[in-house]
Subunit: 221 residues, 2 copies
């Protein structure tokens, strides 16, 4: 039960969790500052991922032509073009030897003297991942992107930046629009980042609804 008086949540975080909602109508005249976008991207960049692979890429789109095309592939949802920035999260379409090697190389460079340990660790990872189907590996990569999506949304809320997480789009169409196939990426979710137009948003005045503790959690002591 979210209540700033009853637990240890920092007040600002508690307020942010109540303040945020999935905005349905953005005000296209109110842009989010590049400073805040940079801060939001920092949170995405520093989100943890499985074995530090960060198996995705994030496209930060302000281009109007592209966003018009993406909106057409997103059931014409207005946030795609009314937001100030559209983030498209695209996960690796598979794990490969070369992609995991590039993680090893980067870590070894940043952590001198660890190459042997890293090669052992990621060698085991390859043993698990490489025999799996591309679809299984893609789904695993997609889940990692969702951790970063979570970090991004919660950080945005704490900066009082509005967001709309979006899955209601045709992934293949968005992949084509952004040329993701050539990059071995597949779009998994989008995050519209902008400013709520509360007066014209049917969802804005609605009470926030969440499952109660007894439905969502089970304690086993």
């Amino acid at each position: 039960m979210l209540d700033s008086n009853s637990n240890s949540l920092p007040d600002d975080l508690c307020d942010a969790l109540q303040w945020r909602y999935a905005v349905k109508k953005m005000d296209p005249s109110k842009s989010v500052s590049e400073d805040k976008i940079a801060a939001l991207l920092d949170a995405i960049q520093y989100a943890p991922t499985s074995s530090g692979t960060q198996p995705f890429k994030v496209f930060v789109i302000t281009n109007d032509d592209l966003r018009t095309k993406i909106r057409a592939a997103s059931f014409d949802q207005s946030q795609v073009t009314d937001a100030s920035h559209l983030l498209v999260f695209a996960a690796w379409d598979n794990y490969t030897d070369a992609r995991i090697d590039s993680v090893v190389d980067h870590h070894a460079e940043e952590r001198p003297g660890t190459r042997e340990m890293l090669e052992g660790y990621y060698g085991n990872l390859k043993g698990m991942y490489l025999p799996r189907t591309a679809e299984t590996n893609f789904e695993h990569a997609a889940r990692q992107a969702y951790i970063a999506l979570g970090f991004g949304m919660l950080t945005a809320a704490q900066m009082r930046v509005d967001t709309t997480p979006m899955e209601g789009f045709d992934p293949s169409a968005v992949d084509d629009i952004l040329g993701l196939g050539d990059k071995n990426l597949r779009s998994v979710c989008m995050l519209a980042v902008g400013t709520r137009d509360a007066a014209n948003d049917w969802l804005a005045p609605m009470k926030k609804v969440r499952k109660t503790d007894d439905v969502l959690f089970e304690r086993i002591d």
Copy 2:
């Protein structure tokens, strides 16, 4: 580039992103207070999910016998028993008519006068979800759990509570241990919540490594 001087991230959030890491060695003598666990669960409860379905359940386990069994199914990773609380995120194994109806009923109860609109909206959702395979729906539900996992980890870090996100376990074995099959749930990830034993953790002194901006992001203006 994470730097509290260069952008708009609240200082505490910037510090939290640097402070957190996936703890490899927890100190079993240092429990996390129930207040902080409640706050962490609040963040999980208030994380956004697709159409507000919250298609997962979180088991909060302190029971030693159960954790010993889960540790055996988790490559003997010590955090499972050395953490103070083990959270197991379990996603719905499918979307069904009845489960979506229960979401409609709950929302209609909390938002009087919206039942007709809700039935229309979730009717469309059923039209999309119910014809899909159970595996596709499970993967979609799992992704939603990962958003909540992200909210939980970032919130914990801001309270200076340590966590270890864990995927290195045998999901079927954990499902059996917790009897999840009977509940139409499947385990997807775990979060050990405890207190780092930094002196005995090989990862604690390591530099944090993240992909650089130019690798992780692509701006399209």
